[in-house]
Symmetry: none
């Protein structure tokens, strides 16, 4: 059990440092120190810094998608499904502020652009499928505005990420009511 232990410690330390100080604020030596391992040890688990960063991203993404699946049912009406995804996403970010800030660092970086492209164009089999499927359905069924998927995504993710950031930075204190109102407002933005 000591092997996954170290890998986990490294990942945790990397998440913490990168989330708080950005990629350049997280030198490998510091990550190692925070993980209580030697600098060289990191390279037993990750080929290089890029790989560490990318694998950490995938871990995070997987966790988010799992969180969103919970309680999500294709049986429920469209609007309810949308509200579920929105509130759960926001909840997840609020409960995991380090994860949120890590994602921001990641998306605003060379790594991020490629991933973003995949997600939007749907070329990857990646996670974002839940959203793409739902939004696509909404367009087809004329529940949502007849706009390019990218723009509907912007109208949803834009505000959600923005309020999450504001909450985490302490500019607003999101409670259940506010979360609900925010997601409802997003709904107003995208619904036909």
């Amino acid at each position: 059990m000591s092997k996954p232990d170290k890998r986990d410690e490294i990942v945790r330390a990397a998440l913490e440092l990168i989330a708080e100080n950005g990629f350049h604020g997280a030198p490998m030596a510091l990550i190692a120190e925070h993980a209580n391992v030697a600098a060289g040890t990191i390279y037993r688990y990750f080929e290089n810094k890029d790989v560490l960063i990318t694998e950490l991203y995938r871990d995070i993404e997987k966790n988010i998608m799992e969180a969103l699946q919970e309680g999500y049912s294709l049986e429920k009406p469209f609007r309810e499904r949308f509200l579920h995804l929105g509130t759960e996403l926001l909840h997840h970010f609020i409960r995991n502020p380090l994860v949120f800030r890590y994602l921001e660092q990641f998306h605003n970086s060379p790594y991020g652009v490629a991933v973003r492209r995949d997600k939007i164009l749907g070329t990857s089999t990646s996670d974002c499928n839940v959203f793409r499927e739902l939004f696509q359905l909404g367009i087809t069924q004329q529940i949502l505005k007849d706009l390019p998927l990218v723009i509907l995504f912007a109208l949803f993710f834009g505000p959600v990420l923005s309020v999450a950031r504001d909450h985490i930075l302490g500019f607003v204190e999101l409670d259940e009511a506010l979360i609900h109102q925010t997601i409802e407002a997003c709904w107003d933005g995208i619904k036909r």
Copy 2:
């Protein structure tokens, strides 16, 4: 006239390099080269790299605010004023992709957080006043949803920045119609 000339060249070179390659991809020596000045010269105009970055940010912000003022009139009805600001902001980003990408780099960095705080809390006499005033008025007059300013901001800036990014990265081709529809959708999101 040779002094401001150099300053301008430095700022221009910094904008270009930082927008395209991020802060890392813009070492002072390279900025100097692109500005056709010596490395040491930059330090006659800017105390250090941080100051250069911050001043460049202020320049950009000032330009944006000036662009928004044009054609903006307190006489026009509320909704029209909102649509004007939204479309003009989007236009500005589309016409100045380097500026937009610079802002993204800037906001996603230690510098960015402080500035954001000022803007949202309104502690600075900074630019965002046009928006704050308008949104505040909208709340008071019960035109906009009764939500914290921060959240209304998120519902507006979130989508606008998001579609601007997507356009600049080539994920969508924004024409006048799409721009209009996007801002209208934002309106749907914030209006009561």
Copy 3:
């Protein structure tokens, strides 16, 4: 029989990697991998990398000397004995290019100097004795030029190693005729 088995595998792997990539291109972990043993195992057979390198050298030298002995007879005339040693040495290098390249790596390194000293000064009981004895005899019997042993060695080994290298690197294709002519030319150089 499993102990010597492993030792052999390690030595073989080291020969291969060092011959092809030099000492730098042969980290202990890689040698271990190629030998199908664990990294730590190497240290059961060799105190450290230097010892491994030196012992491998001795193995090689012993093999060469054995190859030279074959068909070598003190009965034969001097010139014939010389030609035999020369052609056999060249044959051996051509048939064992890895061995040759290893020797080159070895001689051009701190290890090499000490060994060379031993060989030339004859302080070690080492291999080169066949050559030293033969050449010494040639001087005494006034068959060879009256030059220091070192210089006669240079006139023989210099060309032989040089053509071997050129053949192995593909700069010339040595056939039996060329090999013979080369050794004859060496003979012309040293004979009185």
Copy 4:
């Protein structure tokens, strides 16, 4: 005059350290220290370590060729020209032991092989032309043995480099007489 000063110091330090300790025994930090400059300074003059190593090699080669040209005349008989080149080359190595040892390090390395190929195949316009021209002439005029150029080179350079090495390592003390005898012996080896 301070610019070439530093470059020269760096080159001198590199020559010294590499000649004495090999490429890995000469870390950039140590070269910098021996040159009395900061580590970063080296990179103002040489893009990276490889470039430093290669440029140093070219400097050395140029010097050698200049030394060989001195007193060399196409008017003199073939044999005399050969003896001139041989003795001068040996003299040069004896007078510049660091240069000799540097060349040995260089030739026995990835860099070296490429250079060697050029020299032998004569694809480069490089220096070795004096030798190639002379030897080629000797073959044509039936003064030298009818052997591939590569092999004649081996019969000449092999012994010369070998005795130079032995002298520098202290295994033999070359005086004028010995130098002469050695080169004469080489002549015996290559002449028809």
